[in-house]
Symmetry: D2
């Protein structure tokens, strides 16, 4: 019996999740959709045989909707998540959980009050086979205690809708979450340095940017954010431990020898690079949601990430290191970050 899902937001990412839930994965049925663009939503609803709701709230209230996917504009997430929690319906919420840490905190407190997890946040990197392999090798003690993490996040280009703030809250937020997950730790302080500007890029973007995280237990993280590097979408990372390191490898499936070079392919964009991770995060979410629960990236993770991007924005604007103070962690989220890996066996754990 497939899970009956309502999808709020039928834009690019929402459409992609609908495709995934209807054509790629088993166990799901989309029964309702809504979008601020009513015509768009109606067209989608007609195509897949779902009901269109005028509002996200109405969709959440629909008794036929057993679980909710939130893929609307970020500023709308908080209200929908809170409504779904009130209705006690499982949620998959695209990142960010909410655009302010205050809203994130409200969500954390609401879920904690409920006493059980209902929300999985869309930090899909935690489901990427390579990051999973890194995390497992670290958790298995293969490099000793992790002390540093070097993260690189490069986009070939950004669309016109990409505004300067997104360097931190849309791009770097992924590196922040994966840092917390790999090091099983919280961010304590953030420093931001802008490099010489890429003269081939837009004048309004501080590109590239270097973000430095100091973690609560003393780990250091440096993150390169380059958003207009042209050559491809390149996600790299190396965790440095006491006795060794583990790093994402290049990952090209084939080597081409031609014209004086041996070369591998670099992905064009995030869709290509993380196609498996997006499938896996939903493969992970579906059975948990069907059981009226949630695992994987939590509201606490969403709160921590938004808090850190807010601190990063202050650090960039002030030129000073900014420290972070978190609320006490509710017992609901007591398990270490590092424990929230995917349940499905992912092979190729390295070494």
């Amino acid at each position: 019996m497939p899970l009956k899902i309502g999808v709020i937001g039928t834009g690019m990412i929402g459409e992609d999740h609908i495709r995934r839930l209807t054509q790629v994965l088993s166990g799901a049925e989309i029964v309702a959709v809504s979008d601020v663009d009513a015509r768009k939503a109606q067209a989608v609803a007609d195509r897949i045989g779902a009901r269109r709701h005028e509002t996200g709230e109405a969709l959440i209230a629909d008794p036929n909707v057993e679980a909710v996917v939130i893929a609307s504009w970020g500023r709308t997430h908080a209200a929908y998540v809170l409504a779904a929690l009130a209705a006690q319906k499982p949620v998959f919420c695209e990142k960010p959980l909410a655009t302010s840490s205050a809203d994130c905190r409200r969500i954390v407190e609401a879920e904690a009050a409920l006493g059980r997890r209902l929300v999985q946040v869309g930090f899909m990197r935690r489901f990427d086979p390579a990051y999973v392999a890194m995390q497992r090798l670290i958790a298995a003690g293969r490099i000793g205690t992790p002390l540093m993490f070097h993260s690189v996040h490069r986009n070939a280009s950004v669309p016109p809708s990409y505004i300067p703030a997104m360097i931190l809250d849309d791009t770097c937020v992924h590196d922040i979450d994966i840092s917390r997950w790999l090091l099983a730790d919280e961010v304590k302080a953030v420093t931001v340095k802008s490099a010489r500007r890429n003269s081939k890029g837009r004048a309004d973007l501080a590109d590239p940017t270097l973000v430095l995280l100091e973690m609560a237990q003393g780990g250091l993280v440096d993150i390169e954010i380059s958003v207009q590097i042209g050559y491809g979408y390149d996600i790299r990372g190396e965790v440095v431990g006491e006795t060794g390191t583990v790093a994402l490898s290049t990952g090209s499936p084939v080597d081409l020898r031609s014209a004086g070079a041996v070369s591998g392919h670099v992905p064009e964009d995030w869709r290509e690079r993380f196609i498996t991770a997006y499938d896996e995060e939903f493969r992970h979410w579906l059975p948990a949601a069907a059981a009226g629960s949630a695992t994987g990236p939590s509201c606490w993770d969403g709160y921590a990430a938004t808090l850190a991007t807010e601190a990063a924005a202050r650090a960039r604007d002030s030129g000073q290191t900014q420290t972070i103070t978190m609320i006490d962690k509710p017992a609901l989220y007591a398990s270490p970050n590092g424990d929230q890996g995917p349940e499905r066996t992912i092979f190729a754990a390295g070494g």
Copy 2:
């Protein structure tokens, strides 16, 4: 509306396909199963809510069964495929299509008489993202006309049920099929050389073995078959063209630096190495079968592979190069081998 499928054979590979069709992919429903082990079949039927048939023939005849997956013992394939063709039901047949070229020929002729393709043969390598990337780079002319192919097929170990003949007809058959696909050509002659025997392995196995294929258009293929090499399951290949080459890369997702070495993981077995390929071949088969048709590896491919493994066995026994004579290729199979790639977009095409 999911496709109603009957599965003949509920052994290891049959069970794995049932898992794939029920838990991983969308669009399929298993309505019937059968197996020579009636208890095993009944247990599976009970678990997934399917009907058990006493025989494969009865399953094929079941009006509720719209398409058939054949995963039984190789010697039984031919009869089931012919029965399904007679019933005009789409078939996914695990390799080999049939264990003798005479049977394969009968199947080819039956399907050709029908005038449309109904059978996809389980040569899953053609759906592996890395082989797909190789084939596309070749087809795109990136290395010029292909002239040679070096193929390496290594198993860490083989089970006790692995008999000497399987080196050629169970293991090497994959390399033969992928050679035909990558070079878009037919095998014209086969030579087999046994190397010094691996003294750590079984005395009855000629391990490793070198198989040399001469292709109709002059291409040369050398295939290393090592079946007890201990260190892992390692599939490698490089196609050599007039101006360049393309090779499978190592493929480890992460690099571990520890104890004086930087190392990547080698898969343990075929399940780990080809998990994506198995998923993809069924993702490819389902919509074609639902439309009452088939694409991908054909009965002709199954015929050609069995013909070549028969020649290889003669070459091994005689110590002489054996040539191959094929029947005329029915028009149904007229498209070049190289055209039968997966329809779904697979990224990372290399270079």
Copy 3:
């Protein structure tokens, strides 16, 4: 006619240079040695048929000595370099040029007053084939203007004589020099962060440490210094440009497949990793010295490196970013840093 050389300092590095000049390279003859350990110096002198001098100054004054190699304790370098400049004899001086920027400045001014270069400083990385290939690709515009440099400097272990200050002035100094060379720029500000301490290492060492350089033209450099990581001596680096990047590759000559892994060797120590670079820096120095001149890393480079390590020490102690003010660059050193590559053809320029 070989160049007649006097070597001051016959400790580990001095002995290695003597071996290099007498057994590996052509064109050199060691005619004189001196060391604070007179017995050690005498033994060396006897073995290679050279004269022993009581002091470095006496060696420099020896009319038979045409050129001087300084490989003594760092604090003694300044006086010897100044004496050799006064005697107008070509010098190869191991790094550091001098242990204080004030002494370095005196040397720069003395050489500038002379009006011609006589000193090559021992920054051997500039002669490593891989760094040379990086520098050439950057200079050729293959990645656009360089904007960032990620540098990693890892030692498996350090000897008991390694004191905390050496993290910056003995280890990191190499990364500082190579940053200046690759980016063809000067260091403007330095920030130092200590990570969670490697608990498997000595309690007195801030290991690992992250050093952040801001360059005059806006480039950013992050340097990981790990000195007790156990697994090997690992030097890595990637320069990030406007359209691409260039990185040191792993460099293992062979891949071993064994026990579930494909692995490459990591060098044990700097002798293994930079054996070619040490040979090349002397192959570069000898003809220049024979011509009464010098090219390659200059006194200006020595001054800049010491200035930056002094700033790094202040940054570490204060927890604050430290800025650097340099004297005006004498015309003698006018050529950009990036122009001072080795003259000998080094192949394998990448891509």
Copy 4:
């Protein structure tokens, strides 16, 4: 006291060895040269201050010549080697030792009669750091007993002077020697297959060619010879053992990320690829020759290689496998092939 050397042959390879012995390595002095082109020889003699001899025989007889380097046309080698043996002067002889196995046999018998080795043959691959690392890992038992070797020898292009016979006796001869060395075994039989011809290359060359060696102890070797592949000079190899394999790695010093690809450099030609190996073989020869002896590749190795290339030519012409019969191995050459590695420490032994 440098070794006084006479060089026979001042063509391309002779000139390169003269450069090496006078400018790169220590311990050598060229005192005499000769060449069929007297003007060329005189120009070289004048430039380096050596005496020119009218004939190679006169050079060998010159009492001032302590050791002889033979770099003349291959057909002349036998006579010069025999003359040097008669004069009991150490020899470095470029490959081939002689162009017929009969001549090689005469040389072997002459040296054996002398009772001590005087000749090192120019199989420089045995001094390449990557091949040395392979050989050491094999000898150390890291892959178990070696059973197979896959060798790839690709030239971007060949000069007009390259005649069809050279595919086997000039190009493949290197792979034959290195096969014998890595497997510590002799060639027992040779099979040659020509692939579909590279249509972008010369019509008179069977390019590419596949050479199959069966070794005395049962090892199998397949060798791809491609001599006009355009993209670069690419030497690859993998030895397959009972429990693992060891392979030459790509070897590019840097990775360039640009325009959708991550790429490494492929050498342009053998000078670039084997520059270190050529230096090392002479660094190995000089002290042995100075001691009136020789180690490294021997006359026996030269004999074995020529015997195998003769068999390969017969195999190509007849289309049949050709077996090889060797004379009994004189006790002088009793040490296994695998023992004849370079004496100098070469780091990076892999894994």
